[in-house]
Symmetry: C2
């Protein structure tokens, strides 16, 4: 039975996160229903490269499922996008080896976080950015972002109820840039703990606005203490940008 | 009586264009009402750098009005933005000389147009881009964009009912670039006829998709015939980016 891989874009505001929950709209639940409606058959439970939390967007989430027989993949992409009516779009659909697993085979993931840094409220980017008004020391933020690169214990930046076996992760890229009034944070890592990117961004802003004036990112990491880090940045500014795989390096970047 | 200049961002989808009309929400009408509500006084009719059509966005429209006495400008910006509840934001407010006129003193204006070029429907950028699915010859489009630079008679690219005295305008910059699945067109000119930017973009897409395969942009301009040009691109992809003035060069770019 063919193993199908989809690259999907979705609007986090339209869903209560990836994972199936009874009684609320989740990406997993709605996408599975749309696929089964279009194909008029049951498919295996959808697998993804990882769960995105409620409100978090995806530019190129990687999803797989097994179907009884091979469908027309272009029609599947078009049909599922139509059913999802602007909340989710299928950017590509292809057959992958049975052994391919979107989470276990992922080599790294790339996230992007958008901060709108100005006094005026967001208009054209409303609900797509974290709106930060206070003055920020960009130098301290740039330094903090740089100190995240490498293998570290991220215990200080995990979610309160995080039960991961190990909190050690490797960050390959971590950089801040400014585009007009926007501050954009890009990070690529071997994996991320729950809320980790949002806690990184909240901590960078805490370093920038002086809330965390007595410490550096390196000291916060070394403390392994969540209380030393900053707030959890809101989900609306966070985008799962792409997932990298050995065999398909740089293909899971969405688009065209 | 002080002459106040605002830089405002607005979501074109929330208004029936700039110009005051009875019975529908326009930027001019709603913004004037918000200013008068906040200041609890009448102000002169709002002037803008130009009218934006229904559905067209602005990142930095320039607006002036005269008030009986000088208000607290930071509070005015904050208060008016609050009243406009996410549809419009005041990015800056300042006193300018009585003689300053946002349209007559403008040296040039910059517009940006976003095309989402892929099969899948837009999700995160829905309503903010023109969705184009057909294959495009980017080389022909780049060439067409380049041929617009300079002083030309734009009669072929004006709106059907355009009554401008002269259709000659000067284009200082005209360039296409690709960012992922997006094609972005940037243009700066001495002034623009009604629908001119949208007709330029529709013509560039016509050159790219082969609809206008027998002609070049230069030939279309030379014809002075609207029927030789392409369709009018939809307003949702168009953004008034900034307005340039002699004295305030490059300040009207919004942000921070």
């Amino acid at each position: 039975m063919p193993n199908i891989r989809l690259i999907v874009e979705y609007d986090g505001a339209a869903f209560h996160g990836w994972q199936l929950q009874v009684g609320v709209a989740t990406v997993q639940g709605e996408l599975q229903a749309a696929i089964e409606t279009f194909l008029r058959t049951s498919v295996s439970s959808l697998l993804a490269s990882g769960r995105t939390d409620s409100g978090v967007h995806a530019r190129a989430q990687v999803v797989t499922f097994v179907v009884p027989e091979l469908p027309d993949l272009a029609r599947l992409a078009w049909g599922v996008s139509s059913i999802m009516r602007g909340k989710l779009a299928v950017l590509s659909a292809e057959v992958v080896p049975d052994s391919f697993h979107p989470r276990e085979d992922a080599v790294s993931k790339r996230y992007l976080y958008r901060i709108m840094h100005r006094y005026a409220p967001a208009v054209l980017d409303r609900g797509r950015v974290w709106e930060v008004q206070q003055p920020l020391d960009l130098e301290r933020m740039l330094e903090g972002a740089k100190q995240l690169i490498g293998e570290h214990d991220f215990a200080a930046l995990r979610a309160a109820g995080c039960t991961a076996r190990t909190t050690v992760r490797t960050i390959f890229e971590s950089e801040l840039s400014c585009v007009g009034p926007e501050i954009i944070y890009r990070v690529r890592g071997s994996g991320f703990l729950r809320y980790m990117v949002r806690n990184i961004v909240g901590t960078l802003v805490g370093l920038g606005d002086g809330t965390l004036c007595d410490s550096s990112m390196a000291q916060i990491l070394a403390s392994k203490d969540r209380a030393q880090a900053g707030v959890t940045a809101p989900p609306c500014g966070l985008y799962l940008e792409s997932v990298q795989y050995e065999q398909w390096r740089d293909t899971a970047t969405g688009g065209t």
